[in-house]
């Protein structure tokens, strides 16, 4: 046998073995990663059951924002102020149509106004209205995912709002007959990602306390992707041709509550909103 053939064969064998080893190592690493990635349900899907919450300031403003005083510094001191934070909007810009950008500024200026003649003025959060999608996700309160067999319930603490994500086929017509605060959600799995299509949303929810808003043409596509046993990436693509010039996207991690006995508590925030909403037309009046 000629020496060069032997050398080539040996070389090829070595490369082959090395490639084989590398592939095995890589596969093992992938399996490890997948193993640590997310617990599985009995039917093999990522197990999203648990109590989750964001760790960001998006409810104040989904865009980049500096530290600012809260709405009533003369009443609340430093107890409640606007914490600075990076936004959750990809690229930071929201493609508002010109009229809508003006409307957003007006919303911000009137965010703490309660007009007993016009309930559409002001931030709906102050009145304990259901926060809508996607705002419910990044309110500074926990929410629980209850993953059933053909439906998933997301139970938010704020305003005890919740929504059912239908994984099986349902007739959407009765759900879309009237716009709702939390919309109609249909979900499916794309690999390990839960993709949720949300339609039928009412035009009265906001994205944040900064007055970012939408119309009744809002269409949200959410993606929940496990990135570890205790963390998810949440993405929401926003489309609303009445308000924006094109689609845009927000993205943020969700963290699992690890404390023993973590739960979503019952909060009846209507009671806290009533003095704000009805105080001026009560006797004696609340100012």
């Amino acid at each position: 046998m000629k020496l060069w053939i032997a050398a080539l064969t040996a070389g090829a064998l070595t490369v082959g073995v090395l490639i084989g080893l590398m592939l095995r190592v890589q596969r093992a690493a992938q399996q490890d990663e997948r193993g640590s990635r997310a617990p599985r349900t009995a039917d093999g899907k990522p197990n999203l059951n648990g109590v989750w919450q964001v760790m960001n300031t998006a409810n104040w403003d989904i865009q980049d924002h500096p530290a600012q005083p809260g709405p009533y510094p003369h009443l609340l001191g430093a107890t409640i102020y606007v914490p600075p934070g990076e936004g959750v909007v990809e690229g930071n810009d929201i493609p508002y149509q010109p009229w809508a950008l003006e409307k957003r500024k007006e919303n911000f200026a009137k965010r703490m106004v309660m007009d007993t003649e016009d309930l559409k003025v002001g931030d709906p959060e102050a009145r304990c209205y259901m926060p809508g999608v996607p705002r419910a996700t990044y309110m500074p309160y926990p929410f629980q995912i209850i993953q059933g067999t053909d439906k998933i319930l997301i139970a938010y603490e704020f305003a005890h709002a919740d929504r059912v994500i239908h994984l099986q086929k349902v007739d959407p017509r009765p759900y879309l007959a009237v716009d709702t605060w939390m919309g109609h959600s249909e979900g499916h799995w794309e690999g390990d990602t839960l993709v949720v299509d949300v339609r039928g949303l009412i035009d009265q929810t906001w994205f944040d306390r900064a007055g970012n808003f939408h119309s009744d043409a809002l269409h949200v596509v959410e993606r929940y992707t496990p990135i570890g046993p205790d963390a998810l990436t949440y993405e929401a693509t926003i489309q609303d041709p009445k308000v924006f010039t094109g689609p845009w996207k927000m993205s943020m991690p969700l963290y699992r509550h690890l404390e023993k006995g973590a739960k979503v508590h019952e909060v009846q925030c209507v009671e806290f909103a009533e003095p704000f909403m009805y105080g001026s037309i009560s006797n004696p009046p609340l100012k």
Binding site: D43, I145, T149, L153, G261, H265, A273, E274, S282, N283
Partner: protein, 366 residues
Amino acid sequence: MQFRLTTLLGVFIAATVIAAGRLAPAGAQQATPRPTSTYTQPLTPWGEPDLQGVWGGRHQTVTPLERPAEYRGREFLTDEEIAARQKEENDLQAQKDALVQRGEGEDLGLQGRPARKGDSIQNFEYNTFWVDTGAPAKVFRRTSLIVGPEGRIPYKPEVLTRVAYSAAVVSSRPPDDFVNRSWRDRDMGERCISDGVLGMVWSGTGPSQIMQGPGSVVIRGEQFRDRRIIPTDGRAHGTIRSMLGEAVGHWEGNTLAVETKNFSDMSQHWPRDRFAQEFRTPSSSMHLLERFTRTAEDTIEYEVTITDPSKFTKPFTIAFPWMKSPTEQIFLEYACHEANYGMLHLLSQSRNLERRQAKAQGRPSR
């Protein structure tokens, strides 16, 4: 495949459980005794009894809460009585359907079910006539939803005066010049908050939806969006009080047993409630023990034992089946507070009345 194996395993486990006789037998405690031997409790993929779905509750039946005088000493109706009363309900539904057919459905409110002789105000929701499930109300075997020989709420004597007062208020019309000083003069329902946990199982003009995940059962009431998240992961009660109380559950064979306590004292929150029934106004000393047992594809036998030493001389138990429609039931969002223009109008009108009264009496108005 894994799913199929799990299902097979589930069927096997369920069969074993039934063979072991752990399925609660349909006995005197149950409102509609029915054979359970042929029914196999389905399990979730994670191995718990599957109660998921949209269930009708109290509003599906006409059985009164307390036993009417005519059935004193009798806990159950005879087959003939059931047939006769069911015919009445079927006829009533046929009348309703005919009205709807003729386009006069909006008059249904005037076609309310006439009270039966001996009924107490406790026995029906004030708004029973609003409820149209599209099917005749069901007549169950029980003569009252309260089980046991007495079939009455065991009120303490001093509470009975409050019961009489609220009955009188319910049946009276408020004066036209009634002035609401604030939102607190209206009841919790008009404030779009809740009718409380017993209101949820008791009055519910809408259905309940049970959703499950590993370690959790959630009961959603359509009305008020009442929501009870019930952990079944073995945790104990904490100390935090809330309006609907803290519910903790566990499985006893195929039965979901739920213990609820840590209610906040809401008696001050129903100050002038024209419709609230004393027995279901939560107090901080209330304690509930509920049991949910699925005995057929379309039936959960439900019972709740209510203990509250501040109101009752002893615990008492209410039982009725939750029934499920064979088709998927839609469950809609209840956005009451979000559009509570009624409250704004009530309070504005009250301020107007005050201004007018002040003017008539020559007092300065604000």
